[in-house]
Every structure is written in structure tokens, then in C-alpha cells.
Amino acid sequence: MGPRVRGDDSVTTWPMLELATVSLLNGVVYGLLLFMLTSGLTLIFSMMGVLNFAHASLFMLGAYLSYQFGRWVGFWPALVIAPLACSLIGAAIERYGLRHVHRSGHVAEILFTFGLAYVIEELVTMIWGRNAVANSVPAVIDFPLFSVFGSSFPAYKGLMMAISVAMFVFLYLALKRTRIGLIIQAALTHPQMVSALGHDVPGVFVLVFAIGSALAGLAGVIGGFMLLTQPTLAHAVGPIVFVIVVVGGLGSLAGALFASLLIGIMQTFAVAVDYSLLDLFRALGIGVTRTSPMYEFYSIKLATAAPIVPYLLLVLMLIVRPRGLLGTRDV
């Protein structure tokens, strides 16, 4: 028997408190990761009205580029270069692709970004292969930041939280408090007028798309450490991103933050709950036996069903409040 770690004692003393605290922390971390993922998408959607299906692909591209640049020039430069590269790619997508498709309406835009997602996935596979690349956490941020009840909290997750919060503050201030934010918002609703006032509206759109793509890239740099950097990454995180945008309210930044945290925490806590409908029925005194209809369904533990929680929320939200929690217009 090895030396007992001090944190070990708490395991037996306060198991529930420990699980609750660690789960809350994990939930907030996951929520902020989800916000990083969605912030760029929300920006692009609220400013340009484009539902960008290739957003998760740009996130994936960010992870791959940071892995590649990280090997060449180190982690800190890569943290800047990868998002910049993504913003350039984003700008090119807007300038040479989306702008032309835009004239044909929203359906064409969605189809364009949908196709783009496949193109990016294939390109990534061609360059880096089908298997996950060894995108390990760089040594400078690979240490336990602090520990709660004997579980350590890695520093890179701390960095991720800080970047996520910084993204929110930056976007919020840029849109609400700066002149360029004013022009961007005006360009969405009154493009002709803004153009007539001498502003370069197409240029503004390129800028917005570039910033949105850079945010996706930045999220990818950090997210790549937490998830697996492989060609299916975009596919794995794609659906949840749209759940957050819809639940939070299309185009609402604060809504996206709120929905991210809500879903992150809900999903994390759901995993920790080992109760099923069966337990609920028994507690209420309703007799359910093995021969009862749907017994199999009742006996599914909430923990097992945890990953469907966000999608359940999506469906409920679309029925009850289609504009989302903090949205201003319906889906």
C-alpha cells in the first residue's frame, strides 16, 4: 500500500459534497468550452444572418494549425498564429465564396457552408491523416493549477476558462461600446443606408466573418487539447454548437454564454445522477415490475441518458420558446 494522499480522506468523509463541487467545476469548464465554440458562430449569425455550418470545421482547423505551428515555433506563437490563419481563411471564404452565394438567399448560403464543412474535413484528412494527431498539452501549461478534494485541475483548462471569458468581454464591448460595432450592427439591418454614408459594407462583412473565424480558431487551439484532434472533430462538436445557439437565442451573445453554462452544468450533473424513472416511481409508491410495459425504458439511469439532455432541451425550447432564452427573433 503506497503512502496515502491527504485528499484521500475526504473521499470517505464527504463523497457527495466532493462530487457536487467537482461536477460544478467540470460543468463550468465544459460550458465555457462550449461558449468558445459558439461565440464566433453567434457573432457571424447575429451580424450577417449567415448560419455557418462550417464553423465547427474552422474550429477543427484551428486545432490542427495550432498543432502544426506549435511543432514549428512553439505554443505561445501558435496561440496567435493559428487564429490569425483561421481569420485569413475565413476572410477568403467570405470574399470569394459567401459573397457570391449571398445573392441567392439563405438556403444557398447554408448549402454552401454545409459543403464547405465536407471540403475542410477531406482536406484535413489528406494533410494530417485519419488518425488523431498527437496534439498533447504543451509543457508550459501542463501542470495541476490547484486541487479540489484530491482531484487536480489542469492549468490548460484554467487558460481555456480565461480565454473564454475574455472572448465574451471583448465581443460584448466591441459590439456595444465601439464605433465599428455600431456600423456592423447598422450594416445588417440597413446596408444601403450605411453604404450611402460612405462605409464599406462588404468590407465590414469580411471583417465580421474573419473575426468569427478567428474566434473559432482560437477555441480550436485550446479545445484541441481537451478533445481529440482528428478529422471527425468538427462532426463531433457540430450539433451541440447549434443546440446552444438555438437555446440561447439566435444571435444573442449573452444568451449563448448562458446556454453554454446551462448545458455544460446540466450534462455534467446528469452523469453524476444514478437514478432512473424506476426509482422515482418507487419513491412515489407506484408499483412497477419487470413485466410492466416499458420497464426497460424506466430503468435507464439518468447518467446513461446524459448526452441526450442538450437535445431534449433543444426540442423543448423550440416548442415552448422558439426565440430561445435571450433571443429577440424566432428561429
Binding site: M1, V5, V11, T12, P15, E18, L19, V22, S23, N26, G27, V29, Y30, L33, G129, R130, N131, A132, A134, S136, P144, S147, F149, G150, S151, S152, F153, P154, K157, M226, L227, L228, Q230, T232, H235, A236, V237, I240, Q267, T268, F269, V271, A272, K301, A303, T304, A306, P307, I308
Partner: protein, 409 residues
Amino acid sequence: MRSRHRSAVGLAVAWVFCAGSSAADVKIAFIDPLSGGAASTGILAQKTHQFYIDAINAAGGLNGEKIELLSFDNKVNPQESLIQLKKALDEGARYVVQGNGSSIAHAITEAVLKHNERNPGKEVVFLNYAAVDPALTNEKCNFWHFRFDADADMKMAAMTDVIAKDKRIQKVYLINQDYSFGKAVAAAAGKMLAEKRPDIKIVGDELHPLQKVQDFSPYVAKIKASGADTVITGNWSNDMVLLIKAGKDAGLKVKWETFYGGSPGTVTAVGEAGVDTLKQISEWHKNAAPELDSTVAAFGKRFPGKENEYTYWRAKTMWEMFAAAAKKAQSNDPVKVAKALEGMKMQTSLGEVEMRADNHQMLQPLYVSTLAKSPKYDVEATGLGWKSDAKVEGKMTALPTTCKMERPR
């Protein structure tokens, strides 16, 4: 213009048919994921099968006939697999090879059984190299299915034998994927630990969705809170890598008893944190024998790079036994080859292997190994590699079977 187009299509169709009928090759259909999330495993297996088939062809073929491997992408979906199986049969395949996913193996073995009942004289044999749900060689067994990987119960028996001897293990947490195979692993672990070490407490029995979880931190928090000292898991691919990565991030101090700790990317993900704590049960690892097998080295030369890390030793055994069975039968007819395979014994560089006649389960030596620093042969260029803790001879891995199969006359 239009008619010219049509005649060109007609010509192409005719050409395809000619190509189909002129060859007298033995056609073998490989049905596994070649796109999507599980593609990396499927493609690696495809390369391995091709590699050993090429060796048979180079040595004169199967009774003088060349083997042709036809590949079909099933996207790890049972329905899609049946469509691909139909296609394979239409193209003249008489042998089917599949491995990724027990749910798919169930679909294929049933379809093959039905096909063979309805089409006497055109029987198909199913060579299963990786789907390890015990049911396939027990209550769901049939004459046409042969399994070349040890089933989940056999692996669990070897694993629990080693666990039983380690008195430090007191609390075990089971975490598995929510489908037939994961449930089989959990059930076997619970049953065997209760028999061999009744003092061990099972402090958690978790099932999570298959290849859907992105962040395993909540599960790791639960494992930590349970006070477990050992985790048993049958997780594979992303579910294995992400689980152990989350454990490493949270500084979880447990022993990992795994089926697929050797699956691509796992050792890279866990790194030095896995030394002495990550264990796997497998029919082979690079340091199982003192020297690397010559075919393994040749495979590495032909398919260099990390994503081609040699994994499927059982494929070598499978193809060698298959070629030997065809030779013994003096025919490439599936019924005759299947009859020759029954009860066939062979000597490999790791020990004796045998295809059980009663349930068509291969018996082969199994190794319990632990990740160690600077071994003779490392994996994924990490400087880390597997070191054997225990070897179980093929004969010793045999378990009772409930299989009752009908044999063709």
C-alpha cells in the same frame, strides 16, 4: 449526344461484367468502417488483411487461385452492413471478413445463415477477426461463423485471474460502452470477480453512450468519488483515449484494466502517467516474443507512419489457418474449407492455436501486459511500450459453451 452517352454507359457496364466473369479468383469481402469516426481502425485492418493475402498470393495462392479482397464501407451501421453484404454476394464473394462492432457481427452472422439456407451450393463463410460478444459463439453461434479473436468472457477470465492475485485491489469501478459488447464486459467482470475475489467491492457500474462522449471529466469525477483503486473498461477507439485523457487531467490515481489500452492514440494520450498503471489484455504485443516477428517488421516497412502501428496479430493467424484449411480441404469451396477449419490446430511463434470444433472460437495465447518505460520495442514512437505480466496458453482460455450448431451434411 444523348445516345452516344448511353452507349458509353452500356460499354462500361459490359466491361464491368466481363471483368467480373472472366476472373476465377477467390473473392473475399471485407465489410468494415472505411469512413467516419471508426475509419482509422477499419483502414488499418484492411491494410493488415491485404498484407497477409498478398503473402498467400505470392506463395502461389489458395490451391493455385489468387485471392481478391473486395472492400465495402459499412459506416459501423448494421443496416448498411447488410446492404454491403448483399452487394458483396452479388459480386461473387464467398467469404466475408468483419470485425468492428459486435452489433454488426450479429447482423452479418444472421444474414449469412439465412443466405446459406436459401442458396445451397452458394454458401458463404464469415471470418470474424474482432467482434467479441460471447453470444456469437454461444447462443447465437452457427456453422458458418468463425471467430479468430478471444471473446469478452475469455479476455475477462484472464484479466480477473491476474486481478485475483493482486491483494492491493479492493474497489473496482466498471465503465463501459452502452451496447451489447460493453454490457457483456460489465456482466463478465461482475460475475468473475464475485467468484474469484468475493472481497472486492464493485463501487460503480457505468454505461455511457458509444462514441458520443466528448468530455469524460464528469465520469472521472464519479470514479474518484467512489474511491475506486482499479477501473475495468472494454472501451475502444475515442472512448478509450478520451477516458484515459480525462483521468490523467484530473490526476486520477487508479489502475486501468483495459481490453483496448493498445488502441491507436491511447498510449500517446496518457504518456508517462500510464506507466505501471495502464494494462491491457491482448493476443499479442510488440514485446510478447523476444524478437519482433518478421511479418510485423515487413508490415512496418510497407506501411510506415504512426497511423499504421501494427495491431492485428490475429489477422496473421487467421490467414495462415485459412490457407492451411484450404490446402487440407484441397478445395476453395467454403463448405469444405469450413469443415477443414473445424478443430484445426497450428503452431505459431507464440504458441499453439486451435479453432474449436464445437463453437468455432479460436483458442490462442493471451497476454496481460503493462505499459512500461524504455522497452525493447516501443509504440507510437513514445519511448513507452508493453511488458508482459502474464501469459495464458491457448488451451487455458477455453470456456464452456452453450453452442449447438447444425452442420451441413
